[in-house]
């Protein structure tokens, strides 16, 4: 019962899922490494997958900043992702029906500004109302955006999509010519299965560095923002908005900040996707992207940035891993199997670990205040994992 004996148990309980995640991740990496070395997995394709994982991690970060932090229900992840993708594609592509040909940094800026405007447009009327209204409006927004992209050919090329998109580093010194400048390499680590590293590999490597920069920067921003008085108000709103209002917090403003921040991160994922895939089409705005982001956040643990990262990687693994099932004779098509698998994962998480695999554990208190000796006896983690206990009077 006493507070002294419990934290230890809490830490033991907590490290289990963490250790589990760590173990599985290491095993998975070793598996990928083996596949790489034996040539079963092409290094360029592998880097493409890492890029995709980073992209999904960004989408999950974005949704986590809205749903996980504040409890905002946003069903238009795909729309903001699409804004980012199309925004930068239309500004930079040679095949763009409008402007086109701009530096990718201009595309990035335009995409973020449009996403900001759209987030405000949808947030202003709905964020003063009950949570359900944002959910409904965002559902509508996603569909409207998809139909606009599909039908407004003068703007988006319609169903043909946008081609001729340059890499993100086009026009940069050194980096723009880096892939071509690098020599082709032939590695033979496992005898008999050589690995070729050509320009496409170096290009893919650049993309991975780009997404690492995007996702890493986002992670650092979110981590600082969440473990602060700001993040604490968001968590209060998520739990009980009236209480936050009664304590003098302008909850509308906080919700708007959280919504805009999340939307910008989603658009950032879209910008990266554009320069990774070098083609965007209306299919990129399909609701499945929204669905994947939700699965990733719920799976990882709502409110936890690490969880969102983990969830994003799991999504890519399931999405891309099932492609290999094409080679295996199966009684059913792998595509529906993929959705089935994700469904099973969600049901299992809800049943056995409703808080997600890596739920948030830290108290949302500014780190320097805690480290400064404010609360030395408290474990930094695991407080929330405990069950029961406590009710002594």
């Amino acid at each position: 019962m006493s507070a002294l004996t419990d934290p230890k148990g809490a830490i033991a309980e907590l490290t289990r899922p963490e250790g589990w995640v760590l173990g599985v991740s290491v095993a998975f990496l070793l598996f990928l490494l083996a596949a790489l070395l034996t040539g079963a997995l092409g290094p360029t394709y592998f880097l493409f997958l890492v890029g995709l994982a980073g992209m999904y991690a960004l989408l999950s970060f974005g949704l986590n900043a809205q749903w996980g932090f504040t409890g905002l229900i946003n069903f238009s992840v795909a729309a903001f992702f699409g804004i980012g993708a199309y925004g930068s594609a239309l500004m930079t592509a040679s095949g763009s029906p409008i402007a086109g040909g701009f530096n990718p940094l201009v595309g990035l800026a335009v995409a973020l500004v449009v996403a900001l405007a759209l987030a405000l447009l949808i947030g202003i009327p709905t964020l003063r109302l009950r949570a359900d209204y944002l959910a409904i409006a965002s559902l509508g927004l996603a569909e409207v955006m998809r139909l606009i992209v599909l039908n407004e050919r003068w703007l988006t090329n319609g169903s043909a999509g946008v081609r001729g998109i340059p890499g993100f580093f086009k026009g940069w010194p050194v980096l723009s010519t880096f892939p071509e400048a690098m020599p082709g390499l032939r590695l033979e680590i496992v005898p008999g299965s050589p690995i070729f590293l050509e320009a496409s590999f170096w290009q893919a490597l650049l993309n991975v560095l780009l997404v690492l920069a995007f996702a890493g920067g986002t992670y650092l921003v979110l981590r600082r923002a969440h473990r602060s008085p700001w993040g604490r108000v968001l968590r209060t709103i998520r739990s009980d908005e009236d209480l936050a209002r009664a304590l003098g917090k302008n909850t509308y403003s906080f919700k708007m900040q959280s919504f805009v921040l999340g939307s910008l991160i989603m658009a950032l994922a879209g910008v990266f996707y554009t320069h990774l895939n070098l083609y965007v089409g209306p299919g990129d705005l399909d609701p499945i992207t929204t669905f994947y982001a939700w699965v990733a956040v719920i799976l990882g643990g709502s409110g936890s940035n690490r969880g969102a990262l983990f969830g994003g990687v799991v999504i890519v693994t399931i999405r891309e891993g099932t492609r290999f099932l094409n080679d295996v004779a199966l009684p059913i098509d792998p595509a529906p199997l993929r959705l089935l698998l994700i469904g099973v994962v969600i049901v299992a998480v809800m049943r056995y670990r409703p808080q997600g695999i890596l739920p948030p554990q830290r108290e949302l208190i500014w780190p320097s205040a805690v480290d400064g000796g404010g609360a030395p006896e408290t474990p930094d983690s695991g407080v929330r994992e405990r069950k029961g206990g406590g009710g002594d009077e």
Partner: protein, 262 residues
């Protein structure tokens, strides 16, 4: 309590001719009263008298159909709850609000108003000032938890403590918001007698230190012992107000409670 010592017209909260109807029912019917600075004012009345509606009107959660609310001489009628709070009026809720996924310490730290760290930009532009205010607030929170003798709960999940402890935490958190006037909605409802006694002595102590209280309470013994003056509400209007003894002896009050004709 120290009513006589203070200038008579120093009202920290003034409710004037306040009205609110739901459908055809006048839940608040031309209610007028004032809470003098430094008092513990009790608000009593039978079930359905409109006490909670009145609290919601005062704190900005409902918009009144007519009348005015003044806090510290400022007209706050029609303002958002957070704006009313910014003017120094803090309220608690009848059922304690559970903050999921928070420890008691975290829940406490939501209390202080206008923290520098509540500005997103400042988290990055001046992290130093955020850290300073956070350390100060953390120290305040721990001091107040100690004063309330619940510092052993600091690291507990805020959802795991008992209902009575939750009421104590709510009161403690409200103090971190440094209210000019604190509205307590049934502070001892569902609280065991030991904790109720503790709450009473805490309210009295805070009052002596300068906080003004307006409290709704059904526990007559509690409110009569603690509050002076007492405002009696019936069917949305103020029936009478006065000292506990005066109110207790008032026939109209007895009628209202016993449902006699009036």
């Amino acid at each position: 309590m120290s009513e006589g010592a203070l200038p008579k017209d120093d009202a920290v909260l003034r409710v004037d001719d306040l009205q609110k109807s739901f459908g055809g029912l006048a839940a608040t019917d031309h209610a007028t009263f004032a809470v003098e600075r430094g008092t513990i004012t009790g608000l009593i009345g039978p079930n359905g008298a409109g006490k909670s509606t009145l609290f919601n009107l005062i704190s900005g959660f409902y918009e009144p159909d007519g009348g005015t609310v003044e806090v510290n001489g400022t007209d706050v009628t029609g303002m958002e709850p957070y704006q009313v709070a910014e003017h120094g009026l803090i309220r608690t809720f009848q059922t304690p609000r559970k903050l999921e996924g928070m420890t008691v310490r975290e829940a406490m730290l939501v209390g202080p108003r206008n923290q520098p760290g509540e500005s997103f930009l400042r988290l990055f532009a001046s992290p130093g000032s955020v850290g300073e205010s956070e350390s100060a607030n953390l120290a305040d929170a721990e001091r107040i938890l100690e004063e309330f003798e619940i510092d052993h709960l600091a690291a507990q999940p805020a959802t795991d403590i008992s209902g009575g402890q939750m009421k104590l935490v709510e009161l403690a958190r409200a103090m971190l918001a440094e209210p000019e006037v604190l509205l307590l909605d049934e502070p001892v409802a569902g609280v065991n007698p030991t904790l109720a006694k503790k709450l009473k002595s805490q309210i009295r102590r805070l009052n002596e230190q300068g906080t003004t209280f307006l409290l709704i309470e059904h526990d007559m013994e509690f409110v009569m012992d603690l509050a002076d003056p007492i405002v009696v509400l019936d069917q949305g209007h103020v029936l009478t107000e006065g000292t506990p003894d005066g109110v207790r002896g008032d026939d109209r009050v007895i009628d209202a409670y016993l449902g006699g004709g009036a």
